[in-house]
């Protein structure tokens, strides 16, 4: 005794080969479930090529651990967004960022937000003067070294300035509310950030690693290097940036992780 290997017509008991929509013997329709050979996913979250966002550190109202499946073509996140709302985070613009598909690839686009979108760097990333980046709870901007303005006046009086040291660039801490905080001129070509023993130290920032990140001027180019920090270093994106599985983003105070099923 053995089981029939195919779908068997419920009308005439004939065997129906797979892929047939009607029974060849009696013409009865084959139910849709029986026609598909490919297994279906238990849930949409398993669908390949579609990404989801996991809220790792969240908005007070929306909580942590939420996940958003990005099934549509655009997904707007913001303080007043419908799809990915973070209503209680006033660091987010009403319409802050948009998650879009570019072919098979997911990308995030800054929708002209006040505070920007930050993506965790993998290892290192190029920087330009004016770029912002985050380490721990700290937000920084990279600025150019101002031109030396300590030369003589027309009346030949010299300006007395504090001793200057050669410095390729400077890092400015941006405080909540928008005021500039610490300014650190690079020691020649580099400036390092961490909890201790660096050029810029934050002993009370528990999310910083002892030596967290550094910025280097190599030739004419600035480079941001994450020093294997625990929580990573994040750079504010310009315009749009492609995302991959395991990427982390800061949207305001919210940290989200991107998951893409292969």
């Amino acid at each position: 005794m053995e089981q029939a290997r195919n779908y068997v017509c419920t009308e005439c008991a004939s065997a129906v080969p797979s892929g047939h929509k009607f029974c060849g013997a009696c013409g009865a329709p084959v139910p849709a479930e029986a026609q598909t050979l490919d297994a279906q996913y238990f849930g949409a979250l398993q669908m390949p090529g579609k990404a989801r966002l996991i809220v790792v550190r969240g908005d007070e109202a929306m909580g942590e651990g939420l996940s958003y499946l990005l099934q549509a073509t655009e997904h707007v996140a913001g303080r007043e967004a419908d799809q990915i709302p973070f209503p209680s985070d006033n660091w987010l613009s009403p319409r802050h960022a948009n998650f879009v598909y570019r072919g098979e690839k997911l990308a995030v686009r800054d929708e002209g937000s006040l505070n920007g979108v930050y993506v965790r760097i993998r290892g290192s990333a190029p920087l330009q003067i004016g770029d912002h980046f985050m380490c721990g709870q700290q937000l920084f901007r990279v600025d150019a070294t101002p031109k030396d303005s300590s030369g003589p006046e027309p009346d030949q009086t010299y300006f007395y300035s504090s001793p200057r040291r050669p410095s390729a660039f400077r890092i400015t801490q941006v405080l909540e509310g928008g005021m500039d905080g610490i300014v650190c001129c690079a020691q020649e070509q580099t400036a390092e950030i961490g909890r201790e023993d660096c050029d810029i130290n934050f002993p009370d920032d528990i999310y910083l690693s002892p030596r967290h990140a550094k910025v280097e001027m190599i030739g004419e180019n600035l480079k941001l290097i994450d020093e294997n920090s625990q929580n990573g270093t994040y750079v504010r994106i310009r315009g749009e940036k492609e995302l991959g599985h395991g990427d982390y983003l800061f949207l305001g105070r919210n940290l989200v992780r991107v998951e893409v099923t292969a």
Binding site: R79, N90, W91, L92, S93, P94, S113, L114, N115, G116, Q137, Q138, L139, P146, K147, D148, S149, S150, P152, E153, D155, Q156, T157, Y158, F159, Y160, S161, S162, P163, R164, S167, R170, Q173, V174, L175, E176, G177, G178, M179, D180, G181, I182, V183, C184, C185, D205, G252, R253
Partner: protein, 360 residues
């Protein structure tokens, strides 16, 4: 950078004396002579070779100025720039250790307190030990010890780089302008404006007015007396010019979004290093509980400026106002005069490269 020919230490271009050994450094005679802290040797005792002075503790015990300079030979031993002996417990970690008498931990020998249990190791020593008391470590300010010359006339006494007194400029009654166009010693000071400042008397009080000079007039503040700072106040510590900036912040966006940023610990402003006419270098925000500035200790340190004391001054806030206090530095903290100021008797006044004491 000037490399000392005696000990090979690298010194900044405007240093007059080597930070490593105290030898006089060569100067570029064409460029402007930079303003080495003029009272560098205040409180210095000694014409002895610097090596002896540093090790003997003589710095602490004999503060009077040695003014008599019988032979103005250039081969005089160079005065030592201000480099206080570091309190022993602040010196670099000693390799040698000894067990704590309380918990047995190995404690570096230059620690006073056990770093594990906090036990005061000096409390084990007999009280009559000849250890330096904390007061003895600090060179007393020269001001206190300066000889009180009877001054029939009001005058500005020039204090020379080695701490001795130089020429006097009488200030007779009426307003007296001082500047590069005054001639004499002022003529060659490239940091003085042609018309720099004016001195006059109001009653029996001397008043100095800054004639909108480029580099300003600075007055030394008394130790331990807080002076209020305002947005834009400028002060000088060693060779460093610092500006206090009150807290400022942009308005939030019209849609109610706040500016994101690092945690704001209620900062009351920040201090910035002035490195050019319109530019500043490093800046540090000032939290309400304040910050200390010093060469070795404090929240903001100047390890390369030998004219800054180990712990020099403090900035803090009280009831919404911000204050600067000199905490007993050797070379003093100088505040830039805003328009004009009284000059109390005996006050030190800094203009261009010149340091004076006001006597009347």
């Amino acid at each position: 950078m000037i490399v000392c020919s005696r000990c090979e230490k690298e010194n900044q271009d405007h240093y007059k004396f080597c930070l490593g050994c105290g030898a006089e450094l060569p100067r570029d005679s064409n460029g402007p002579r930079s303003l080495a802290a003029p009272n560098a040797s205040e409180g210095r005792t000694t014409n002895a070779p610097p090596a002896h002075a540093a090790g003997s503790g003589a710095l602490a015990s004999a503060p009077q100025l040695d003014i008599a300079l019988p032979t103005p030979e250039p081969v005089q031993p160079a005065p030592v720039p201000e480099l206080e002996p570091l309190p022993a417990e602040l010196a670099p970690l000693s390799d040698a250790t000894s067990p704590c008498t309380h918990c047995g931990a190995d404690v570096p020998e230059n620690f006073r307190f056990c770093h594990v249990c906090g036990h005061d190791l000096h409390s084990d020593l007999p009280p009559a030990s000849d250890l330096e008391s904390p007061e003895e470590r600090v060179s007393p300010p020269a001001v206190a010890e300066a000889p009180e010359a009877p001054a029939p006339l009001a005058r500005l006494v020039l204090i020379q780089p080695d701490g001795s007194e130089g020429e006097s400029f009488p200030l007779s009654g009426g307003p007296t302008p001082i500047g590069r166009s005054t001639g004499g010693i002022f003529a060659s000071d490239a940091y003085l404006s042609p018309e720099h400042a004016e001195f006059r008397f109001e009653g029996d009080q001397m008043v100095v007015k800054d004639l909108e000079s480029l580099n300003g007039v600075y007055i030394r503040i008394d130790a331990d007396v807080p002076i209020e700072l305002f947005d834009g106040s400028v002060f000088r510590v060693g060779q460093e010019i610092l500006r206090f900036e009150g807290p400022t912040a942009p308005d939030p966006a019209p849609d109610g979004t706040q500016h994101a940023g690092s945690p704001h610990h209620g900062f009351v402003g920040r201090i910035s290093l002035v490195i050019g006419r319109d530019s500043t270098g490093n800046s540090y925000p000032v939290p309400p509980h304040g910050i200390h500035l010093g060469r070795e200790r404090g929240d903001v340190i100047f390890p390369e400026d030998g004219y800054v004391s180990g712990l020099h001054c403090r900035i803090h806030s009280e009831v919404g106002h911000v204050f600067l206090t000199d905490v007993g530095s050797s070379n003093g903290t100088f505040v830039r005069v805003s328009n004009e100021s009284f000059v109390p008797r005996g006050t030190y006044v800094l203009m261009g490269q010149q340091l004076f004491r006001a006597e009347y």
